[in-house]
């Protein structure tokens, strides 16, 4: 089925079998707008399919979830949150060290995040292309020994502000002090957590998220009232 977001006009193809029966809407992977799944749209797709009678090869080719301008084939593992519930929060963990990763995942689990672990920088960009995460925990040396040219950070600071402000980014660093707000501003992240403070990761992270939510609360409420959220 081809779905078009009426807010950002992105087009997506979703395999029919991936849409649970009775599901009426899905969040747009790009802008999070709720896209209603029109029954008539489903029906017309069905009729068109029956009419065309494509062979197996054609049918497989149709079953991709790519945005219209992209041509890669569909891989479900790239997009683990195709159908996350409305209030479900998602987190992307970009940390190579197993000890740190364990602590981060434990803390995020306690805060009820749906967690994705990224393998490398390329994997992060791929995952972010299809899903707007609520939280990204990034080690500044993730997949790159030089923390000043981290590709994930470069991507984040070039991201459109309307999208970026919905993501809370925690940067793990061994150079900067925990909660150094001026450095966080310079690095385009929401909070800095020094790796020496990883034992208290949960507490520091939670405090940062609370501050972030408080900071944007009025803005979000106003956007909601204006029908733009």
């Amino acid at each position: 089925m081809e779905i078009t977001c009426d807010k950002c006009n992105s087009k997506f193809r979703v395999p029919d079998e991936k849409i649970p029966a009775g599901l009426e809407s899905i969040p747009c992977p790009k802008c999070k707008n709720s896209i209603s799944i029109n029954n008539s749209q489903k029906a017309s797709e069905q009729v068109s399919k029956e009419h065309d009678q494509p062979d197996d090869h054609d049918r497989k080719a149709k079953f991709s979830f790519d945005e219209a301008p992209l041509s890669d084939s569909y891989d479900a593992s790239d997009k683990p949150f195709d159908f996350v519930e409305e209030e479900g929060k998602t987190a992307l963990v970009c940390e190579s060290g197993s000890e740190f990763k364990k602590r981060i995942i434990e803390a995020l689990h306690l805060m009820e995040y749906n967690i994705t672990e990224a393998k490398n920088g390329r994997d992060v960009l791929k995952k972010m292309r299809y899903h707007n995460y609520d939280v990204i925990v990034l080690n500044e040396k993730f997949d790159n020994p030089n923390p000043d040219v981290n590709p994930v950070m470069m991507n984040l600071e070039r991201m459109q502000m309307s999208t970026r402000r919905n993501i809370f980014v925690a940067l793990l660093s061994d150079r900067f002090r925990t909660m150094d707000n001026m450095t966080a501003f310079q690095k385009s992240v929401n909070i800095i957590i020094n790796t020496k403070n990883m034992e208290d990761f949960g507490k520091i992270f939670s405090r940062g998220v609370t501050d972030h939510e408080f900071f944007y609360r009025i803005y979000r409420e106003s956007m909601k009232k204006a029908g733009k959220a």
Binding site: E157, R158, Q160, M161, S162, R164, S188
Partner: protein
């Protein structure tokens, strides 16, 4: 199409705006020395140029 052509507003733009604002406030301050005034003015010109304000 018009939407696509519209320039993206990013963290980099926000940071530049805030830095420019802070430098302008500093320039208007009473406690600023002549040497610092020159440095701040130079930095303001550089940011304005980067922001294509000239």
């Amino acid at each position: 199409m018009a939407e696509e052509n519209k320039r993206k507003y990013t963290c980099i733009d926000y940071r530049q705006e805030m830095t420019l604002l802070a430098l302008r406030i500093r320039l208007c301050g009473d406690s600023i020395s002549d040497a610092e005034k020159q440095d701040v003015s130079k930095e303001i010109r550089e940011i304005e140029s980067a922001m294509q304000m000239n």
